[in-house]
Amino acid sequence: MRYLPLNDADRAAMMNIVGVKAIDDLFADVPADALNAKFDLPDHKSEMEVERALGAMAAKNRAAGSGPFFVGCGAYKHHIPATVDHVIQRSEFLTAYTPYQPEIAQGTLQYLFEFQTQVAALTGMEVANASMYDGSTACGEAALMARRVARRDKVIFSGGLHPHYAAVTRTQLDLVGAKMLEAPIDVDGTEDLAAAIDDDTACVIVQTPDVFGNVRDLTALADAAHENGALLVAVVTEAISLGALNSPGEMGADIVVGEGQSIGNGLNFGGPYVGLFATRQKYVRQMPGRLCGETTDAEGKRGFVLTLSTREQHIRRDKATSNICTNSGLCALAFTAHMTLLGEAGLRRLAMLNHEAACRAADALGAVPDVEVINKSYFNEFTLRLPKNAEDVVEQLSKEGVLAGVPGGRLWPHDPATHNLLIVAATECVSDADIEAFAAKLREAV
C-alpha cells in the first residue's frame, strides 16, 4: 500500500520490541467477537484506478464553466487567479494543524491576522474572527451571540433572508428554545420590520443584497433596533458586493456575517466555504470561533497567537460561547490571498463588472415576452417572474446547455407563490454570448 512506510520486516522488529507476537495482541481490549469484522468493501486500488473511478463520477456532472451559467443564491461562480490555488497547496499551509504552537505556526497566524483585518474593513466593522464553517452557520452563531449580548429572547428574521440560512439559524435557535418571528417572504424588499421590534427582541436578521437580489438600506432598521435595545445582524451572501455597496457597518449593523466563498473559493458543490463574522470591539468577548491576536515574543519581536480562548470549548468546556473547534483555515487563506491580489482597486472594479453583467442580463431577459424583472435595485443577482413554473424552465434550459438560475420551488418547495420565480445571477464570468443564449432559450421555453 503506497501510503504506508512500514514493511513486514519493520513490523516484526517493532512487535518484538513492543513485546507482542501478533498485532491483535494490541487489540486485546476489544470484545473478541467484534474484532476483525467482515466488510463488504473492495481492496486497495492503484492511483490510476482511483483516478478513473472518481473521474467517471466527475464526468457525469455539468461544471459551471462548461456553458452559460447563471446560478447563485449563496454560492457564486467567479474567476480565481491561479496564484491562489498554488498558495493554498503549499505543504506548509495545507498540511499544518490549528496553530496551537505559535512559534512554528506564524505563517498561519499572520495570514489569519491579515484575513481578520480585511474582513473587518470590508464589512465596515471593528473586529472579525478567523472564520466560521460557512455563511449560514455564521448566521446561526450571530443570532446566538445577539441573544447573549442583549440578554433577550426573540430573534426576528427578514423575509428576504436566504431560506437555508433561516433554516440553519432556526435549527440553532430551536436548541435553546428561543422565540422567533419569521417575516413573510418579501420578494421586492419592501417589508417594514421596525414595528415588530419589541423589548424582548435580541436582534433582527436581514440580508443585503437579499435572496431575491434587492439591495437593502439597513440604516433605518438599525436605528429602530438600537432605539429598542436590539442588535442588527446583517447577512451578506455575496462578498463581492461589498466592493460596490455601502458596508453594513456604515449602515449601523452590530454583527455582520457572510459567505466568503466568492473570494478565492470554488463552488465545490456547497463546501468547504468560509464564513465571515465581524462585529464591534465592545462585543469581542461574546464572539464565537477562533481569534488571532498580535503580541510579542521573548525577544520583543512582533508575533501572532490565537487569543481570547477563554471563550472557547477547549478551555471553557461547558461554558464556551460556541462548540466550534475547527474553522475554515485553508478557505480563509484562499480568501485572503485572492483579496490581497485584488486590493481595493481590483475589488471595486470586479464588483462593477459584476453589476454591469447583471444589468445587461436583466435587460435582455426582461425583454422576453411575459417575463418580468421584479427588482428595482440589485447587485449581481435579480429575480424574474415567469409565466410558468420556473423549475420546469430550468430543467428544459439545462438540457439545452444553459444553467439558468435557481427556481423558487427549489428554495421554497412548500410555497407555490414562489414557484414561477427564477433567481438569476450574472458575474464577471458571464459573456454577452451567454446572455444572448439564455434569452433566446428562455424565449422558446416560455
Binding site: V50, V71, Q101, T137, S247, F269, G271, T340, K399, R410
Partner: protein
Amino acid sequence: MTMNNQGRPTRAGDVMTTQTETFTGNKALQIEEALIFETGDFDGTGVDLPEPEGKADRLGGLKRESRIGLPGLSEPETMRHYVRLSQKNYAIDMGPFPLGSCTMKHNPRLNEKLARLPGFADLHPLAPQSAVQGALELIDELAFWLKELTGMPAVAMSPKAGAHGELCGMMAIKAALEARGEIATRIRVLAPESAHGTNPATAVQCGFKVENIPADKTGRVDLAALKEKLGDDVAAIMVTNPNTCGLFERDIRAIADAVHEAGGYFYCDGANFNAIAAKVRPGDLGVDAMHINLHKTFSTPHGGGGPGSGPTVLSEALAPFAPAPFVVRDNGTYHLIESRRAAKAEGEAAASIGRLTAFHGQMGMFVRALAYMLSHGKDGVRQAAEDAVLNANYVLARLKAEMTPAFDGYCMHEALFDDRFLKDTGVETVDFAKAMIDEGYHPMTMYFPLVVHGAMLIEPTESESKGELDQFCDALLSLAKRARAGEADHFRAAPVHAPRRRLDETAAARKPVLRWTPPAAQ
C-alpha cells in the same frame, strides 16, 4: 592585476560560529515578512480586469463611496508574501506531527488533484439535480463506505466538522427524546473528564446539563461509578472510544447496555476511529450516534485549522431524525432530498432536526476522503489502523525507559505520558514541548487529556517509518536525560531556533489587538 589564489574556504571550521544579528533581521532562509498593510499599495492591484463602462447604477442609491482600505499586491509580491509566510510553519509534509487526538497523517496529493476536477470543484450546489448526478453518486458511495465501516444503518453527511457532527448527533438524541415525550425529564448528559472540550460544549448547546463520569485507575470509564450516576433523568452518555488516553474502553458493551437499560443513548466521539477502522464496527458495540472526522481518519488535509468534515452515523432509533438534505437512490437515479417538512406537522412521531448548513456538506472533503478509501481499500484501511497502533506502541515501548507512561499496558493509536519524569527538574511539560521544536519536531498534544498531570499525548500515525520513529524517540530520550541532568535553562529558553521565541499569550489576551490599524489612528 593578480589572481586571487586564496580560494573559497570550504571547511566548516573556517566559519565563525558566534551568533550575530543581521541588518535585515532575516536569518538566511528565514525572511522576516511585514503585513500586507505595511508594504502594499492601497491603490494597487495584482489582477488585470477590464475597465467597467461606468454607466450602470441600479444599486438602490447605496453605491459605495467610502474607502475600504485594502492594499493590493502585484502577483510576484503576493506569491513571495505567502511563500515567506509558509516557511514559518511546521507541517506534516516536513516531519512528524505527533499531536495526539488530532491525527496528522499523510495527505495524498492524488486526493487534491481529484477534488479539483471541474466536475466536482466547479459544481454549483443548487444546479438542477439532473446536472449533478455524479456528485450525488459520490456522496452516496462515501455514505455507503461510512455505514459499512461503522456497521451503522444511517449517516448524516452535512456536518461541517467534528464538533458540528457532535451537534448533529446530540440533536438527534434530543429529538428522539422529544418524540418519546421525555425531553423535560432527561436533562443530564454524562461525559468523562478526559473528554474533548467540544463534548460538554455541545451538550450544553443542546440544553443539557453535563456531569462527569469518573475514570478508574486504568484510565477507562469507571463502570460501577457510571452505573450509580445513571437514571431516568439521563439523556445520553458521550464517550470517546478509543478514549483520549489512547485506550480502548474494554467495558464498552457493558457501558452501552447500562445506558440503554437506563433509557439513555450512547453518543460516541469518533475522533479516534482511525485506530479501529476496518477492524471493529462501532455498531457492534452498542453506539447510537458517532461523528467521523474525515480530516482525521480519512486524511483530508487539516489546512491550518480547517476545513473539516464530520459525517455522523446514526442507529436505527436515531435515523428518522437525521438532518436534511440527504441523498436517496432510486432506480439508478440519485435524488437530493432537501426539505423534510417537520414531520410532526404531518402527524408523525418523528421529525428531522432540520438543516445544519446552507448546502449539502463538505463536498471537497468528500471527494478526498473517498479517494483515500478507494486507494486503501478495506485491506489498506485495516493495515493503516494496525500500523498506527503499532507505531504508537513502539514509541511507548521505547520512551518508557526515560519517560513515564500515564497508564500501564499497551495503548491504541496514541501513547500518553505524564510529567512524573520531570519531577524536581524545574522543567515543565510546556518547556519539554518547546525544546522539541528546537529539535525539529512539532510537539505532541500537551496538557490534554485533563485527567493526567502535565499530559503529553503522542500520536505518530501510520505515516511514520521505523527510521523516523527511531530518530524521534532518540531525540525525546535525549531531552528527558538533559532535563534530569539539570539543564533546565535549556528548556526554559526554548525554542531558540524557531521563527519566533515564546510568545506572550497573556499580553495578547489582556489587550487584544485583532487587526492592523493605520499608524495615524494608533
